[in-house]
C-alpha cells in the first residue's frame, strides 16, 4: 500500500491502524532525521514510552514500505530516517483527528460533571 501526499489532503487517516509506535516515530522524525538509537531516546523523553528495538524496527520497516519515511545513506552502520511529504501529511491528518476526539472527550467529561 502506498500513501500519496494526496491521501493526507483528502483527510483520510492512514495512521489509524498502524499502531502507537509508528505514530510516535513519525512525531519524533517531524523535527529532523534520526537513527534508531536517537529515536528510542527521543520517544522516551517525548512520550515516556520505552520502545523495544524489535518494536522500533517493525514500525520503521512498515512506515518505510508505506513510504511515510525514507532512510538516508548510512552513517557508519546507522541509517538515519527522515519523514517524507506524504508521511508529514498523514501525521497532520492523524493529529487533527486525535485532537477532535480529545476535545470531544473533554467536553463530555465536563458535561457529565466528572
Amino acid at each position: 500500500m502506498r500513501v500519496s501526499s494526496r491521501d493526507g489532503r483528502a483527510g483520510q487517516d492512514v495512521l489509524r491502524r498502524v499502531g502507537e509506535a509508528s505514530v510516535l516515530i513519525l512525531i519524533s522524525l517531524a523535527d529532523g532525521p534520526k537513527h534508531g538509537y536517537a529515536l528510542i531516546q527521543d520517544i522516551k523523553e517525548l512520550a515516556d514510552v520505552e520502545l523495544g528495538p524489535g518494536t522500533l524496527y517493525g514500525a520503521l520497516d512498515r512506515l518505510e514500505r508505506l513510504e511515510l519515511i525514507e532512510s538516508l545513506p548510512a552513517d557508519d552502520r546507522r541509517h538515519p530516517y527522515r519523514i517524507t511529504a506524504p508521511g508529514a501529511a498523514a501525521l497532520r491528518v492523524h493529529l487533527d483527528s486525535l485532537e477532535r476526539v480529545s476535545a470531544a472527550g473533554r467536553l463530555r467529561l465536563r458535561l457529565g460533571g466528572i
Binding site: M1, G36, P53, T55, Y57, D61, L66, H79
Partner: protein
C-alpha cells in the same frame, strides 16, 4: 557489549528474522543492541524484543498483501484439522461418546441405538475441536476406547 554472550544472544535473535529484513536492518539492529547494552539494558530483554519482532515479521502480511504465505499455510493446516475433527465427531462412535448415558444400576433402559457403548473414564467431548490438544483426545476416544 558488556555482558558475556550478549552479542551472541542478540545475533541469534536477529537470525530469526526473514532474510529480506536481515539484509535491510540486520547491521543497524545489531549496532542499536550494542548501544542499548552499553547504556545498561539487559541483553535478554533486547533479544526477546527482537524475537517478538521476528515473529510479527513472519506472521504479519506486508502492506498491500492480504495474507503472507506462512499465515496462509498455518490457516490451511488449522482448517484441515478442524474438518477432520468435524468428520470424526460425526462418526457413530463419536456420536455415541457424546450421547449422555444413565448411571449404572438406575434401571433406566437406553433408547439409543448404541446402548452397549461403555462410558469410558474420560468425559464426553463437549465441542468439536477446542484445540490441537483436544483433537488428539477426540481421536483416541472415538477410535479405541469405545466398544460399540
Amino acid at each position: 557489549m558488556r555482558e558475556p554472550g550478549a552479542g551472541r544472544l542478540v545475533a541469534w535473535a536477529l537470525r530469526c528474522y526473514p532474510a529480506r529484513w536481515r539484509r535491510r536492518h540486520g547491521d543497524e539492529a545489531a549496532e542499536l543492541a550494542a548501544l542499548l547494552i552499553r547504556d545498561g539494558a539487559w541483553a535478554g530483554s533486547i533479544a526477546l524484543s527482537y524475537l517478538a519482532g521476528a515473529a510479527r515479521e513472519w506472521l504479519t502480511p506486508p502492506p498491500g498483501r492480504r495474507l503472507s504465505a506462512a499465515t496462509g499455510a498455518l490457516l490451511v493446516l488449522v482448517c484441515s484439522l478442524g474438518v477432520s475433527g468435524v468428520l470424526l465427531a460425526s462418526s457413530p462412535p463419536a456420536r455415541a461418546a457424546l450421547t449422555p448415558t444413565p448411571a449404572r444400576g438406575t434401571g433406566v433402559s437406553q433408547v439409543h441405538g448404541h446402548a452397549r457403548c461403555r462410558a469410558g473414564a474420560g468425559s464426553a467431548v463437549p465441542g468439536v475441536v477446542r484445540s490441537m490438544g483436544s483433537l488428539s483426545v477426540l481421536i483416541w476416544e472415538a477410535g479405541h476406547e469405545r466398544s460399540c
